[in-house]
Symmetry: C2
Subunit: 198 residues, 2 copies
DNA sequence: TAAAAATTTGACATAAATGTCAAACTTTTA
DNA sequence: TAAAAGTTTGACATTTATGTCAAATTTTTA
């Protein structure tokens, strides 16, 4: 059996869970090894340094996300439909990897190399043009597109990032909070779209 | 001159800047000392351990925030005015200490003691009742109050937390991003309140 | 102004995390 | 099936951060 590749993948999976799902950004190679049922040195055998593993997890997740989103933004669905799909995809991803941008932000703060997709800026500008057009048509609340975008990402990301805090403040279980997050699509759209009937 | 208290305060101020403003949550006592123009051991002289200093910064900031917000929530301003002031206070604080809740969340994740104000849960429930009443009156978009609250905090906090990322994505300077943040009040309210004229 | 108290800081001890190496072991391949 | 290649893991070396101590210095107080 291809044990090697299995073990390597198993370590990546374990690290992804620790870093992106649990948000334990400073987990040590010891922690990761233990969680994977391996000695710490196995982690070093496959990835040499902790940093290589860290970047691998991080890059893979970003790629996965980007792939999903691009196809939506570039599609020629009507804007209302497009934004709905966009929110849904992000929301799913957000719940799956609640700490992805904490991760990115931490890296930037600590002056680490962050593989910013060169095309990300261009795509963002393109998206903002689509937003402006939708505002002109009266589908969206009127405001500078950059604020619309900040609103959108705030509503999508913050409740996942700050989950541990709000679970405590609202005194709800993991399961209940997960349920809340999944319900959010409707209320995010309500805060962004114009037709605020009732 | 009361040099002692000065030095102690100077260390707290420096640490606050590093932890809450720059978001360098793992800055070492060496880093803090250096930034304060002191040897690392001075930090230990005043606070014994890094953790004591860490918790001090954190507790003080939370107290400062809580004090400001309580007077607003407990006031008997009409709700529309109240929410406006609430947003303004939070926004100012948010810009001043962009990393406060990253801080809290990290603490919770790492199972550290977090001094959750016992009354915070109660106040939150009270606030949600006020929200419900405002929805009944048609001032706010209708939705479960908990989602309104998540929306509110998302809109207030995320752009500050994720500033390093969006500065890069939008390719804007520190100053320009600060300006954006200050403009947000109007657009946050627009996404929350009902009277979406034009 | 001399003794007491408080402070500053360099030197030391300890702990925690990382990364390397080589010996033991397993799997593959020729 | 034997040698080559790949893997696992314990032992070691290094690095980084923390915290303590005591000697030197400064400030306060009686």
């Amino acid at each position: 059996m291809a044990k090697a590749r299995d073990t390597e993948q198993h370590i990546v999976d374990t690290a992804r869970k620790i870093f992106l799902v649990e948000g334990r950004l400073h987990a040590t190679t010891e922690d990761i090894g233990k969680a994977a049922g391996l000695p710490r040195t196995s982690v070093h055998y496959y990835f040499r340094t902790r940093d290589v593993l860290f970047k691998r997890v991080f890059t893979e997740a970003l790629e996965e996300l980007t792939k999903g989103l691009n196809s939506i933004v570039e599609s020629d669905l009507p804007f209302a439909k497009k934004i709905e799909q966009y929110v849904e995809t992000w929301l799913t991803f957000s719940i799956m990897y609640p700490h992805l941008d904490t991760f990115v932000v931490t890296e930037i703060i600590n002056q680490e190399y962050v593989p910013v997709d060169k095309k990300a800026g261009v795509r963002m500008n393109d998206f903002m043009k689509q937003i402006q057009a939708a505002m002109d048509k009266g589908i969206l609340l009127k405001m500078p597109p950059v604020h619309f975008m900040l609103n959108l990402f705030s509503l999508l990301r913050y409740p996942s990032i700050a989950a541990p805090l709000y679970k405590q403040l609202l005194d709800v279980s993991d399961r209940q909070y997960q349920k809340l997050l999944k319900e959010r699509k409707a209320y995010i759209l309500k805060a962004l779209l114009k037709n605020n009937k009732k």
